[in-house]
């Protein structure tokens, strides 16, 4: 799959995360920590991973779950697997 502009990807991922965590999208800043700042649990992290995989038709190995700690990291990770 072709690389997506980082800003577009960021906004799309922000929308996914805000919906799953049930918070306002503006609270999902690039550096807000998923667990400490947004109150995310492991079930939500998995849902985000599954939603990203579905939306962009990717397979992200579950070892990467621990790297999924902020929107910024999510953009980085998603881009890495889109470009694969």
């Amino acid at each position: 799959m072709q690389a997506i502009d980082n800003k577009i990807l960021e906004n799309e991922l922000r929308a996914i995360i805000a919906e799953i965590v049930e918070i306002e999208p503006e609270k999902v800043t690039l550096n807000a920590n998923f667990v400490e700042d947004l109150g995310m649990d492991s079930m939500m992290a998995l849902e985000i991973l599954a939603s990203v995989e579905k939306k962009y038709k990717l397979r992200i190995p579950e070892e990467n779950l621990t790297k999924l700690t902020s929107l910024g990291k999510a953009v980085e990770l998603t881009n890495k697997f889109i470009n694969k």
Binding site: M43, L46, L49, A50, E62, L65
Partner: protein
Amino acid sequence: MLLKDKVAIVTGGTRGIGRAIVFELVQNGAKVLFTYLQSDESAGIILDEIKELRGDAEAMKADVRLYDDAKKVAEETINKFGKIDILVNNAGITKDKALMMMEPAEWLDVINTNLTGYFNMSKACIVAMMKQKSGIIINISSISGIVGMPRQVNYSSAKAGEIGLTKSLAKEVASYGIRVNAVAPGFIETDMTKDLKSKEEIVKMIPAGRFGKPEEVAKVVTFLACERSGYINGQVIKVDGGLAI
């Protein structure tokens, strides 16, 4: 067909209880990938027999002591059959000896194959199950892990550990629609028990008056793997002819 279109992994599927579980699941409509460590020949014979029954199965050589092997088993199952609905952790070994004679290596080997093997396979499959929000894990433990057996501190410890794993994981993943249960067989007619010296003495202790058959364990596994047991979670079902009442 209690398990039509379901996909199952059975570890240690070429002998004893594992072999019976493979056939039982296939005959109930499941597609089964079973692992084995030693005999390519036995695996091939089982695959041929399953083909004759018009069942769908795959065999894979894997060492469940190694997490990388466990991951490959899960990946191969998804590649071949598209998903993982059921994991039956069964692969196990015994190295019976009195504690005073037991070498540390004999302790570790039994713990690694039985307990760590169950951890490795469960970890390798759990995310796929969590994502699909459904799954069944069945751990074949033993009454040795409930009542303890002399000359089996390694095996009893591993089997008791598997029960802890079962209960802990059941609570952890219940909200994802995953059920985790254990089966604790007593004395079953398999290679593992065929060389027991005191068989007659043992039979006297079993209220049923006989050893169990592998199929009698396998049928309980099928029950735990299907919808009929939908509200049973974190349990240990003894299949022991009443031995450990």
